[in-house]
């Protein structure tokens, strides 16, 4: 197991370095081909050369390699790696530390993800298990139909309908019934409120979780059906174990491997969903920050945030791989 973890970790680090390098190349070529992002600072004004140079220096874009199309700019890349290694992720266009921005934004995204994950598990495991146990009965059909319906509503539709149709009357009703500033009134606030992060993240989190849960429900169902048909389940039953024990120990556990994999994959999907959710619900989170950074051509911020997100993704994948191996010993020897 130790060697397996080591191998996976090294692979993870390699992947991360590769991602960073590709990211660096892409931004470098984008700067070389598209022109100077420092110009974004001046908007409609045409800056003098010295003003431009001063701003370039401020954003670390003053290396001459950025003016030579095709030059991979390895110098600045190595320099940046060194800075990252020391925990220095640079500053955004206005000199604010990227780490400071992340420190403000990440907790909100993590809270959102926690809600999302709980919703996945409750819906996915609950409904998926129920459907598998009652295969081909009306409950099963109902759950499968529901999962198709969920798929038909992408997250932005859910949020749009929620904000414009439900949130306003619901929050009005909650305020009238429970009083202004009461917990139910906060639940239905149309936008995130930093003073009450948990309460105002709950509904967006549930919706984002709901939107991502359909594939999960079907996966859990399919993988449990496979287990139900397995020899080991028949053996367990024939030994006279009660059904509850069979389901929890032999069906659910054995069907967990593909589900855990899916958590890893869906995590990256949720990250994309978080960009939408955070944007629409005005949550100051990683997705929203990245969105704004791209819009404002804030190169240093984009690099910093994407690197951090890539690192998180690599870590999640690593955890998934390890969980995988823990659940199924065959994998670590493969």
């Amino acid at each position: 197991m130790g060697r397996y973890i080591l191998r996976r970790s090294l692979l993870g680090v390699g992947t991360l370095l590769l991602v960073m390098f590709v990211l660096h190349l892409l931004t470098t070529f984008a700067i070389q081909l598209n022109g100077n992002p420092a110009l974004a600072f001046f908007g409609e004004k045409v800056p003098t050369k010295s003003q431009l140079a001063a701003v370039e220096a401020r954003f670390g874009l003053d290396d001459p390699c950025y003016d030579q199309t095709g030059n991979p700019c390895l110098g600045p890349f190595v320099e940046r790696l060194g800075q990252y290694a020391q925990g220095d992720f640079g500053t955004n266009l206005r000199g604010r530390e990227v780490t400071d921005i992340v420190a403000t934004a990440a907790p909100n995204t993590l809270k959102l993800f926690l809600v999302v994950t709980i919703v996945w598990f409750v819906l996915g495991m609950g409904l998926g298990t129920a459907a598998a146990r009652r295969r081909d009965r009306s409950a099963d059909h109902g759950i499968r139909l529901t999962s198709v319906l969920i798929d038909a509503f992408p997250i932005f539709v859910l949020l749009l309908v929620y904000r414009y149709v439900f949130a306003v009357p619901l929050s009005g009703w909650a305020e009238d019934t429970f009083g202004e500033g009461s917990l139910p009134a906060l639940w239905f606030r149309p936008s995130f409120d930093d003073d009450h992060p948990w309460a105002t993240l709950l509904v967006p989190g549930i919706l984002l979780g709901l939107a991502g849960s359909a594939a999960f429900i079907r996966l859990v169902r399919a993988s449990q059906l496979e287990s139900y048909a397995g020899d080991h389940v028949r053996t367990a039953r024939s030994r006279g174990l009660n059904e509850r024990h069979v389901v929890t120990h032999h069906v659910i556990r054995n069907s967990a491997v593909p589900v855990v994999t899916a958590v890893g994959l869906t995590f990256t999907e949720a990250l994309a969903g978080a960009v939408v959710t955070e944007g629409m619900m005005n949550i100051y989170g990683m997705g929203g920050v990245l969105w704004e950074a791209v819009r404002a051509a804030d190169v240093a911020l984009i690099l910093g945030i994407v690197t951090i997100l890539a690192a998180v993704t690599v870590v999640v994948m690593l955890v998934v791989d390890i969980a995988y191996a823990a659940l199924d010993p065959r994998i670590r020897y493969a």
Binding site: G43, R94, I101, D194, V289
Partner: protein, 554 residues
């Protein structure tokens, strides 16, 4: 984001929110208004404003986005402020602003004014801010405002084409700035400019405290102002709180107690307004009909003219049919401005028929553009006179990547195509500014101008005057000796009124040369909640005057 782009974008984004927050005391229904003091405001009322997340700094020298400006307008006081009716400047922190030749200006500052940290607001406070802003290597966004002051050039240094510094700046202070005594500042300009007194109320000219200069980075997020509100806390990206400064001595201060800004990623805060968390908002296009049909909301609706002018410019530096004024006329006459607005953005734009927007700056009058009305027959005639459009070619219209503007310019292109039969394509480029600066456009392009200070000169000289007879201005290659002479005559005029009249002459030259086509003027609209009253939109910025608002705890 540059100032103009941002202003256009945030015209709708800026909304004021009155927190019907948890804590607050008071009755629920109607005006609780138990507090004395009059004025219609509760002294403990909190006004919550929505800000765009574009705000990255609150350093006056570095703030040129609409939203920073609206925050700084209550945190700092300038030498002059602008009349909400006429936008003309009047002395505020300044006791007097005098000049005899428009070149040497003597500014007397009112005595005994202090910053919120107790430091005096004196001539030094202004000089240190202006010197810092004018020093090139500091890369302040408002640097260019100081180019008219003697000694500016020496503070810029030089760089070669690759951006390497070839010469360090020779000076770190403006030689044209002299602190005569603590209350007197003498400013020498490089040449006469009648509008200098008008510029003094702009954010970039606010004073800063020595404590601020000593730690600029701290001051950028925690300003030390001299205005009626002081910033308590700014969680960047999340929200900003300002409370009333009790020791404020000047007269223009509102009665309510605090302002809370919530930062928004986009412009979509209408549901928050509807839910009672916001005081001011603009509905998104899809909700406009519903809002317009709500009689209750209509009572709390305010609109006013905006200052942003959208126009179409031509690459006059490149050969093409557009070099012929008749062709440009034809294009202008072919655009059904009113029809486009009615179909796409009713009440958010008005057709433009002048190069200086009327009613928002002194000297702005409508109707100076003779060929800005939709007239298909005249358009066809003009095109014929210009020799027509080359067969088989497409007219490329360049613009940035803003969804609303793309829709608008698609309609403009359709209008041209329908009237003149010129096929067109839109080129929405993410590198609009870089390409424009590099003269990389092969057809007409969208441009937008939001003035920096309320004077008609600002719509003219910065856009059209370059002093470069050979190449013309960078953006579109226009040059007119007559135009530059008229601007110069305005700069040298004895009084501001005469200057304004001279600048109007300059606008008339544009009307003849017709280098650009005025298209649309932004219109500012807001809905507001029951908690605020005395809503006055500043005709210049288009935003509610926070100092005039009356706020109660709803």
């Amino acid at each position: 984001m540059g100032r103009r782009a941002a202003v256009a974008a945030t015209a709708t984004a800026v909304a004021l929110v009155l927190a019907s927050c948890s804590g607050g005391g008071g009755g629920n229904d109607d005006e609780g208004d138990g507090g004395g003091g009059g004025g219609g405001s509760d002294p403990d009322a909190t006004l919550n404003l929505a800000l765009s997340q574009d705000v990255e700094t609150l350093l006056p020298m570095d703030s040129n986005v609409g939203d920073n400006i609206s925050v700084l307008d209550v945190v700092y006081d300038g030498l002059v402020r602008y009349d909400p009716e006429t936008t003309e400047p009047y002395n505020y922190v300044a006791e007097s602003v005098e000049t005899e030749d428009n070149t040497v200006w003597t500014i007397k500052i009112k005595p005994d004014l202090t910053f919120q940290n107790g430091e005096p607001v004196d001539a030094d406070a202004f000089a240190r801010a202006w010197n810092y802003a004018a020093y090139g290597p500091n890369a302040m966004a408002n640097n260019y405002f100081f180019e008219r002051i003697t000694g500016y050039e020496e503070m810029q240094g030089e760089t070669d084409d690759d951006g390497n510094v070839t010469k360090e700046p020779e000076a770190d202070t403006l030689s044209g700035l002299k602190v005569v005594d603590p209350q007197t500042l003498e400013v020498t300009l490089t040449g006469p400019f009648a509008g200098f007194g008008t510029m003094l109320g702009y954010t970039g000219f606010f004073p800063i405290a020595q404590e601020c200069l000593d730690d600029i980075e701290a001051c950028a997020v925690q300003p030390i102002g001299n205005g009626p509100f002081q910033v308590e806390k700014w969680d960047q990206g999340v929200g900003l709180t300002a409370t009333r400064w009790e020791d404020y001595t000047l007269e223009e201060t509102p009665e309510y107690g605090a302002i809370e800004w919530t930062e928004y990623t986009g412009e979509d805060n209408w549901p928050d307004f509807e839910a009672g968390n916001l005081d001011f908002a603009v509905p998104p296009p899809a909700e406009q009909q519903a809002a317009a049909g709500d009689p209750d909301l209509q009572e709390r609706y305010v609109e006013g003219p905006g200052a942003a002018l959208t126009y179409m410019a031509f690459p006059l530096y490149k050969d093409g049919p557009w070099k012929d004024v008749e062709f440009r006329k034809a294009i202008s006459l072919a655009v059904d401005r009113q029809g486009i607005i009615d179909a796409l953005l009713p009440s958010q734009r008005v057709p433009a028929d002048s190069w200086v927007v009327p009613d928002v700056v002194p000297g702005g009058t409508g109707g100076t553009c003779e060929w800005c009305a939709f007239d298909p027959d005249a358009a066809k005639a003009a095109l014929e006179k210009a020799g027509g459009w080359p067969d088989g070619e497409k007219l490329t219209i360049h613009l940035g990547q803003d969804a609303t503007e793309q829709e608008l310019f698609k309609a403009v292109g359709d209008s041209i195509q329908e009237t003149l039969g010129i096929p067109y394509e839109l080129d929405a480029t993410p590198d609009y500014f870089a390409r424009r600066g590099a003269r990389d456009f092969s057809g007409p392009f969208r441009a937008n101008w939001f003035p920096d200070y309320p004077l008609n000169e600002n719509y003219l000289a910065p856009v059209y005057a370059s002093g470069d007879a050979k190449n013309g201005n960078v953006e579109f290659g226009y040059y007119s000796a007559d135009f530059e002479a008229a601007v110069k005559a305005g700069d040298e005029a004895a009084t501001l009124d005469e200057a304004v009249a001279q600048y109007q002459e300059a606008e008339k030259i544009l009307a003849t040369d017709f280098p650009t086509i005025p298209l649309f003027v932004a219109q500012n609209t807001y809905y507001y909640s029951e908690n605020v009253s005395n809503v006055v939109l500043d005709p210049f910025s288009g935003e509610p005057k926070l100092r005039l608002l009356e706020v109660t705890n709803g």
